[in-house]
Amino acid sequence: MRFLFRTSHTIDLALFQHSGQVFWYGLLVIALLTAPLVLDPFYLGELAQVFIYAIAGVGLMLLVGYTGMVSLGHAAFLAIGAYAHARFMTWGMPFLPSLLLAALFTGFVSMLVGLPVLRMTGVYLAIATLALAEIVEQVLTHWTSMTGGFRGMRVPDAEMLGVALDAPRPFFYVCFAVLVASVFAALNLLRSPTGRAFVAVRDSETSAVSMGISLVRTKTLAFTLSGMFTGLAGALFAHRIGHLAPDAFTLLTSIQLLLMVVVGGLGSMHGVMFGAIFIGLLPQGIALARDVLPQGVANLPGIEPAVFGAILIAFLILEPDGIYGRWLKIRRYFEEFPLYRKDTFKRQQRFLSTERLR
């Protein structure tokens, strides 16, 4: 087991707590950077998809995991980012400015819709965001001149410095770079006053107010940033699918995104990564499983959503801390072997008491 000796306050500020972390994360980055040299383009595409999920996950995690607000409508922001980016590029804007502008635009839209919606809490907020997403879907379907309506719109080819970005390798690198930048930005936020205000609001609104935190400002900011990151992911997603249509951004997409942060583990950036890998690779996993399973089961229609649902339920009942939480426990087990107590992480059950009058 590693003991951390803190000899200066700067240690608590560092992104990496000790040299071991620097080593392992460095190794991971190198592995990913060299992946295009060895991997098949198909798998590169799948990995790029995982990166895109992770970027959206960063946005959703800021909202759900750190500010404690649940959104059932994040597919809307993914869609707004994707359509805005495609629209800007169709108008002739180069790739990079268009990408950033799409993210900012999505952030702006989420701020606008956030202002009225954020007076609500809990379930009410969740369902209000769901309603917003339904409305956005209608706009996408019927504002034909902007979005191409049902038939959708083609996403223009991207190019930067003479390199066609839509090819698997360059696209992989672009997604990876955006993901690293997003995670870096999010981690910075979380170790500074902005991020602390988020967790304060999550843990106790009453207390946050008496610590001088404005609920409206903090919630709106969290919502805006969340929309921005998700919009950024949406813009990249547009290139990944090549052709935008409203049916790529449904309630199911929103739920999938939420599933990602829950299964990964709420309240940690590691959780986002695990969750993204999980939902990004699950369809492949199910496809592989079909080959092994008996004919009758394997050919059932719509088995994929059922597997999704079953895994979600299993995690919520058995491991509410998500994949990352499980990983921490396993690591602890080996570190403390053979002294690990079975109840180290035993959850305390809480009885429910509400503020309702009736």
């Binding site: 306050h9 700067t10 608590d12 500020l13 930005a185 910075n188 936020l189 170790r191 500074s192 006053p193 902005t194 991020g195 602390r196 205000a197 967790v199 304060a200 999550r202 843990d203 106790s204 009453t206 207390s207 946050a208 107010v209 008496s210 610590m211 001088g212 935190i213 404005s214 609920l215 900011l221 940033l225 309240g267």
Partner: protein, 255 residues
């Protein structure tokens, strides 16, 4: 001179009068306690000062400034900190982070600067940390810096909450039943902490408390309340022997 001045406060909830024409003044550097049976309106006064409730009538001045209509999240920056009866800490975070959140009140943060973690942000983080360490040293919380609140015993949480209040660098701290849930030894220690806070940091203390020994040992002045009204204000000895106070506590039919 008076730091906090409340004049004829009134507050009611759907016909129930929680506070009725309450006036009092807290001088700078004083330890002022409010006592009274349950439901006397003590915590309501705190909630009015914190601006959680809007007054029906009356006026509150702090440091010569009218705060009757101030925004609830502006109160902390003006220099008023508070604690809560049942501890309202940020449960899932470490003690250190709880204290940092409080100290952020005096910081101008901008999202862009935070996102890039510019050198200025880093410098401010370290400065804030230095000041927090002073509070940690004062209240003996060194051992708990990195512990999550949820894993701490209740007595420690109460201290962390007071520490968090102090990290706001307030002129006035409102302590809502600081001894509730503490064992006799911890309550004993509390006497010293409150006196330390008052003398060493020069923070004025306004306290709601049930434990009469604690009230008697630390308070400069005491105000007794019952059913939303002030019974009397004065030194602990005076208040304790006041006839209406005895009646309110020993049952004049009100309980």
């Amino acid at each position: 001179m008076s730091l906090l001045k409340a004049s004829v406060l009134s507050l009611s909830f759907g016909g129930v009068q929680a506070i009725k024409d309450v006036s009092f003044e807290v001088s700078e550097g004083e330890i002022f306690s409010i006592i009274g049976p349950n439901g006397a309106g003590k915590t309501s006064i705190f909630n009015v000062i914190s601006r959680f409730y809007d007054l029906d009538a009356g006026r509150i001045e702090f440091d010569g400034r009218d705060i009757t209509k101030a925004k609830d999240h502006k109160i902390a920056a003006l220099g008023i900190a508070r604690t809560f009866q049942n501890c309202e800490l940020f449960e899932h975070e470490s003690v250190l982070k709880n204290l940092m959140i409080a100290s952020d009140v005096h910081r101008q943060s901008s999202v862009l600067r935070d996102m890039l973690f510019l050198p200025s942000v880093r410098r401010q983080e370290l400065e804030a940390r230095e000041r927090i360490e002073e509070v940690i040293d004062l209240l003996d919380l060194q051992a708990y810096r990195y512990e999550a609140i949820a894993s701490l015993p209740f007595g420690v949480r109460k201290m962390v909450e007071i520490a968090r209040g102090l990290c706001l660098r307030p002129n006035l701290i409102l302590l809502d039943e600081p001894s509730s849930g503490l064992n006799p030894e911890e309550t004993e220690d509390l006497v010293f902490w409150i006196e330390d806070i008052n003398r060493e940091l020069g923070v004025t203390v306004l306290m709601v408390e049930h434990d009469m020994r604690l009230v008697g040992e630390v308070s400069h002045r005491v105000m007794a309340m019952n059913e939303g009204e002030v019974l009397t204000t004065g030194s602990f000895q005076e208040v304790r022997s006041h006839s209406t106070v005895l009646e309110a506590y020993l049952g004049g039919g009100h309980g």
